[in-house]
Symmetry: D2
Subunit: 335 residues, 4 copies
């Protein structure tokens, strides 16, 4: 980068896009958030937070040579096209997950990025969570020895709006993809085989769309370890995010985090807070930290630690999981 100043454009400003924009404005004074582009832009919001260029035209970013990086949070089915266009315009890219549901589309996006010589960071926010990093670092440094069993619980507080289901990519692609990335991140191992068992227990209407809402996945990992992921679309008690790496010397686990440490003891029992309600509250700091990583990479002209390759791997696992569910057979991912 020939200039130290990072100038960023936002592509997409829905719920997550606004969160990223506000995080950038509040936490990175060295960054110039110059433009926001959205087909249905909330102009009032964009003005209020103080983004100078507010447009529905993508050229507001591509044609501005000062903008050297973009944050893409447009609808998922546009990600590949947006990455190609932005890479073609020489912009460095942070793109929300998923890049695409089809592995070949991700490969196309990755090629475009490679060809353009820009960076592409993918929004696997959990990799930047303090608790998860502590577990990963302990595993990496050998604290628990050689990993034997990875046990992950990942459950949403409330079933999604049914309108969301048909284009969601399904439970594995939409929801578990984070967990698939986690298991690679925590262990440093690749997934060699997967067996998926799913069920439609939360809402029969989810089943009518051919999707499931509850699943248990067994993953054989390259180092011999076995991974388990259990997921559900609805807990009623908050966002349940627990994970354990158990190994030859012990176990390290990240437990649920709660809004407060307050404990009430009374004649009806002893009560603690529920876990944080959703990913927004639970991974609040992680969303800032992933942008921090992106900015640091821009400043230092370095590759991000999580990129299109990781996006591809997570989606390949999801594809295999889907195949396993249909066949009721373990499916190999070995190349």
């Amino acid at each position: 980068m020939n200039d130290n100043k990072i100038t960023i454009g936002m592509l997409g400003a829905g719920r997550i896009g606004k969160m990223h924009a506000e995080n950038i404005l509040a936490n990175f004074p060295q960054v110039d958030l110059k433009a926001v582009v959205d087909l249905k832009l909330d102009f009032e919001w964009a003005k209020k937070v103080g983004i100078p260029i507010r447009s529905q035209e993508i050229t507001a970013i591509t044609d501005d040579p000062k903008i050297n990086a973009v944050v893409i949070t447009t609808p998922s089915n546009t990600h590949v096209e947006m990455i190609k266009v932005m890479a073609g315009a020489g912009k460095n890219i942070f793109c929300e997950k998923p890049i695409a549901f089809a592995p070949d589309l991700i490969r196309q996006a990755n090629k475009a990025v490679e060809k353009a010589g820009v960076i592409l960071q993918v929004g696997f926010n959990r990799r930047f969570d303090t608790d998860i990093l502590k577990v990963r670092n302990a595993v990496e440094s050998g604290t628990i020895g050689h990993p034997h069993i990875i046990n992950m619980t990942s459950r949403d507080p409330k079933r999604p709006n049914l309108k969301f289901i048909p284009d969601s990519g399904g439970l594995f692609m939409d929801f578990c993809v984070h967990d698939f990335d986690m298991i690679r991140f925590l262990t440093g191992y690749e997934v060699e085989e997967i067996y998926a068992r799913g069920a439609n227990l939360v809402d029969p209407k989810i089943g009518e769309f051919g999707d499931i809402d509850t699943a248990v996945l067994t993953l054989k990992l390259s180092g011999g370890a076995i991974g388990i992921i259990n997921v559900c679309r609805e807990t009623n008690y908050g966002y349940d995010q627990q994970l354990e790496v158990f190994g030859s010397n012990g176990s390290i686990a990240a437990q649920n985090r709660r809004p407060t440490s307050v404990k009430l003891s009374c004649k009806d029992g002893v009560f603690l807070d529920q876990p944080f309600y959703s990913f927004i509250e639970r991974y609040k700091e992680a969303y800032i930290e992933e942008i921090n990583e992106f900015i640091k990479c821009l400043e230092a002209d370095e590759k991000p630690s999580v990129d299109g390759h990781d996006a591809l791997e997570a989606v390949l696992i999801a594809v295999a999981a889907q195949k396993s569910l249909i066949l009721n057979q373990p499916v190999s991912l070995k190349k």
Copy 2:
């Protein structure tokens, strides 16, 4: 029973047998522990604890009409024979698990018991643990709604002596059989299908015997719920016994129990006790409670809540798990 006095004979007085005998002597003054029979009887121990009849001959029990119940803790491969003989002699039976590894042998034992009109309680001690009972009762009363996911961790502190492995029945038959029983007990559901993934990670010598030391099992249950069991032969930090039943209205979990509640905070961190070291410490009270159930059944002339049918079901699951491991396929248990 025509007489209120329960008179019990012990068949087998190894480590577990001695424990049961001492538990009976200390906790059930209404019971007369009259005889102990063991081929290699520790006469000194038997005299010290005060059991009047001490013998190496089974007839010391079968021929004594006063003895109306026996506790069998002889080596596992003798259980079926002992059950047949004792049922034939009209004795009510408490038998340690496993009755046998072969389902047909268990069926034979069950038939002998049925024919003799005696009772047979099987030593699934965990069913009598306070924590587990609290979870079961909550599930039964609908506190967490309809069960969706059952997540169980069951791990031993230290690998067994290698000599133990060849005749152990293998990880599923020897170790997981308790977990298979638990999942039926906690949910009231039957196992319809099982997928087993195993690994030999703790000690390569266990693999040389054709056994595994680490496994993850996925179980499809009759009510639609999915069960997970992860097991390992060695934790290095104690006996890891955690279980959760997650359902449509919430989750209920039994966490590890520790010897004390003491917390040390110092410059090196905040330290808690490890979990109890082994099943002996963890299920100390449950071992007494299962005998209490047996005695109450004898006194009230009632059937025990856990019997030969439950023993058979657990073993059928273990057999299916073994088959699944070999085939690397889910195996159906539907009849």
Copy 3:
């Protein structure tokens, strides 16, 4: 002791006496619980548990040369007299606390014991609790450095029956005496000065008897450390027993113990068990362990670790606390 066999007589068989008797019968096969004496003896109970000699006459114990030890659980105001008589008859003594409310009476009892050359163990059961022992041992071995602050919470679940109040000795003598002993036991320090603040907040009728139901005590200890004890006659959520020793290198704390480790997460919150309801449940094992200590002393002809001197010290602190409450001034205990 000229004979290895310990033969014990029970003096008093009310609620606590029965508990001790049953604990002895269940846990110490080497002991012969030969006789029980109580003015209002529950003969049916005594017969059922199998104590051979059942009497309302003290001579059933004093005149029996086989009985070499007694457990005294008669009403508190008879303890000194009973100790004198039993010491005079050459019996070793376990006596429930309090020996007496008046220091001089305790001194008389101690002198009688000393003159007779018997042992006197006092029923400070908490000293034998696993959690408390772990804290004490950590303090003793220097784990937390030099003690600076000792912070104790000791609260009963439900106010006592008002009939109990007039002869109870008052909150300090009846209830806090255990905490006074604890602070000496945990630190190895003596109390040099005490300041008591009390209040009558739970039930105005307790105040009508001149007693208080809530108090906070500040204790200056010989090593320079400061102790705090907060007590209350009613929590509504169980028996609240927490203590912390904080020192130059860290802090060690015994937290409340709960009947189970079960955690329920649902839309209304995350619920844990309440603490054990009363001292009977909380210190169940400690009641057995203190008798174990008594029996071991009898077997080995050794002095018990908690004796009449400790009883005297705890009562001297209670007397000073009472004086402090009246004067609203710190009161010195230095000799």
Copy 4:
């Protein structure tokens, strides 16, 4: 306020001043942080964070009619003078605690504020902590009934630099003043009497300055409840901040917060994170929230919830505590 735009000047830009400035810049886009004044201003920092007016002269704030509010973080002994000057210039004031150690000086500051018709918020940051607010709200809404005992632990991780001690105001004025405010805030009661016991256990050199480093305070509150505060200058395991309000219907407690929820189980034990290391980490959000309150008051032309009266009350308690320590007597605060 004639203009909706809040324009703030910083008076003082040491460690805490910088934190407040950066918090304002990152979290309150509606606020214009226009000027910073410090005798030893770190000009480089001020430029980097983007404060337009950077000066060593107080007139840069007083003479600017656009600036309608100031945040005072100058050395404590200048607070009263600064409040007078700023109130005289019509500026609304947020002032770090302590305003002064002498009650009369605080009264002077309060009078100046009242006369000028500006607002004065005092930096009792803990009042804005999520955990503490949850406890306060539960107490206020009657969840635990009528408060009986308030038990607070407040301990610093490391002894302060000895240079800090002479002008610190002493342990009660410098450190406990927060706890004195807490006890009023949590209960809504006033302190009627206090008894202080102090000790010099952490570092004899602190004693050479006539100060103490460890203390236990007993407070009689207006509603009859009894408060306890135990404090120490050094834990070695982090910033220990625990508090409990125990009442007629139960107990509510804020426990220590930890950086992560990670739990490591291995052969050496089960390890959790230490509490946050210092007030900066522990009350990070509370420092933002107190400024949020200040800005909301400026916007809505309302009085802050914590003001010069609260500052005065906390200092009056500290004065009484100091007197009690010297006299070794309880000291009344009744007016």
